[in-house]
Symmetry: C2
Subunit: 342 residues, 2 copies
DNA sequence: GCTTTGTTGGACTTTTTTTGTCCCAGTGCT
DNA sequence: AGCACTGGGACAAAAAAAGTCCAACAAAGC
């Protein structure tokens, strides 16, 4: 069922909205028994005029009966409502989840795709598609977009398509070498995205595991300094979110640091920073690029991650509070919400 | 899947149309490879301007890529098209069936609901709902609607709901006593419909199995004559279609007539008339009301019947050629089409 | 290299649809 | 009878869609 809904959403994006609106109205009418237009408009939160149009439609469809004394649900309407119940629950369950997470963390937007990326590769694809779609909607003209690495980001890159305003954009890696494998590095992702979107890109080539001394000398280099300034001028950043210990292992962080992270209860990793369950920064990878304070001033900070196992990490990063948009999947979202309750 | 589509159709009637339109465009683009707006508009049969709006939409959705040299399908578009295939096949399969039957018999409209009424009671309900919906769309103000009896018609009656233009309408039985059981008699159906629709009704009380003499004297009666004139003034008739032998048995037609019907190859029954496989009238039940010549002059003749077993009967009545609108189900429609081929 | 025929996308007007606003004539309850 | 509701008609304002024309560009043929 979700399959078909998902297809329809691409062909008719405001399908769910319309369905929700009409369902809500019909539901209210059923609950109320006999109700008038103005009262109803008030309780569903629309103006009287647009509700009137909807009511006319419902009447036309024979779903409600309208008399001089008010309107009531018809037999067909009641039946439809019953059949609609599971669909709506499924459909708006996610919408409700989105709204709940959005308001709790004060985000601009939350998008949840159905499924669990841990289990189904298809869900991970959907996550990528949703991420690409969000990005497409947010970019303006001639903007710089900073991206991180990771398998989820790779999926986003894959689903990116050329869009008019993207032509003049630049894709850049958010941070330098973090020890990822080549195909998941920020540099690779940035260039893939640019190619997919028909945009341009600039890369930041720095070696992994930088010592303090090397770091300083690198920053002196005018080329590097220039590209870093360029990166910091980005107004949009898209980043993945990882589990702290998983990321530490994958990036071959040295044993002492790993132990210290474990000891401090590191839960999440994003943009080279490690966070504990309250969203505090525990550690920063020794590399260059966007700093957390750069992030705070950005127009759009988009976090993308899914899978039940990442729920806790996502919650932790959201607590830190620099996110604007979250794209995740159902399983992770449920985990996040569970954490709110406890 | 059909369940959800069916629900959606009630909440968003032009959903299928829009989906079809966009699918067609996308499909054309894929087929063509690289194609321009005007060429495309020509081949999908729209004006350039509305196609432009659609193209803008598809571009927005990232389903196509548009360059100065034309537009082509994107990866996402290709994928969507693939996923859409089964849906479309299912969805437009019926639409194609409808069109095929419509054009072959020169009807105004054909509506096919999915399923087989013989097997699934749910399909029969859908048939009723579709019939009611068609009727609701065709009635004008203060019109007279003649209806027949039968279980399908009872279902139509059940699904009828009050609609504004119906308030001033009259429901009347199309023909007098045909030997049906009470709950399936035209009189009962007419009154039920009127009650459901918030309209008025007039009945025609005549005994079953009328002899010639009684028939003549009945026609002399001014009350009867008046109501029959009223019935013949109807501009809309809604009738069921039955299998000849089944109907003959149910209505307890006398053995000789039954045998003669069988001998002549009677296949279908509608409005008290019996038809052979070529649509010729074999026999007319001895009762009063609408005659076949009245039917021919009507604005809207709506035939409603479903179930695989009725396919042959429906085809036979359609061949007679007085129908304007046919409401049936998938199983019956397939039977009808099969008969066209052989 | 030039022409021709296609392409997109911008700009404008006309038409249609949606929305906002008032108001009137009922209905049902007290 | 009075009151607080109801639906629905009417009309203007606003917004969206559609029709129309044209400029700028791309590709293919000559």
């Amino acid at each position: 069922m979700r399959e078909i809904l998902d297809i329809q959403k691409q062909l008719l994006p405001d399908l769910v909205d319309t369905m929700k609106k009409r369902y809500t109205i019909l539901h209210h009418i059923m609950i109320s028994g006999l109700v008038g237009r103005r009262t109803l408009a008030l309780s569903v939160g629309t103006t009287e005029r647009v509700l009137r149009a909807e009511v006319d439609f419902l009447k036309e469809q024979g779903l409600i009966e309208v008399e001089a004394s008010g309107m009531r649900i018809s037999g067909a309407g009641r039946e439809l409502l019953e059949r609609l119940e599971p669909v709506v629950k499924d459909l708006f369950g996610l919408t409700e989840l989105e709204e709940r997470i959005r308001s709790h963390f004060g985000l601009k937007q939350v998008i949840i795709v159905p499924g669990d990326s841990d289990v189904s590769p298809h869900t991970k694809k959907e996550l990528g598609r949703a991420g690409a779609s969000v990005l497409r909607k947010l970019v303006g003209e001639d903007e710089t977009i900073a991206v991180t690495g990771g398998s989820t980001m790779a999926e986003v890159a894959y689903h990116l398509t050329p869009a008019t305003p993207m032509k003049g954009c630049w894709f850049v890696p958010a941070r330098g070498g973090l020890g990822e494998s080549v195909e998941l590095q920020a540099n690779t992702i940035a260039s893939t995205m640019a190619k997919k979107a028909g945009a341009r890109y600039r890369l930041l080539h720095v070696p992994d595991h930088l010592g303090e001394e090397a770091y300083q000398s690198l920053m002196q280099d005018s080329h590097i300094a220039e590209i870093i300034a360029f990166i910091r001028g980005a107004r949009i950043v898209v980043h993945g979110i990882g589990e702290a210990m998983v990321m530490a292992r994958r990036r071959k962080v040295d044993p002492e640091t790993t132990e210290s992270l474990r000891h401090d209860g590191a839960l999440a990793e994003a943009l080279g920073y490690y966070f504990d369950r309250d969203g505090n920064i525990l550690h920063k990878m020794p590399t260059i690029g966007l700093r957390i304070e750069d992030i705070h001033n950005m127009d759009h900070v988009i976090g993308i991650a899914g899978g039940k196992s990442k729920g806790a990490s996502i919650a932790s990063v959201l607590k830190h509070g620099h996110e604007d948009v979250l794209v995740t999947d159902e399983a992770a979202a449920l985990e996040v919400v569970n954490r709110l309750l406890s």
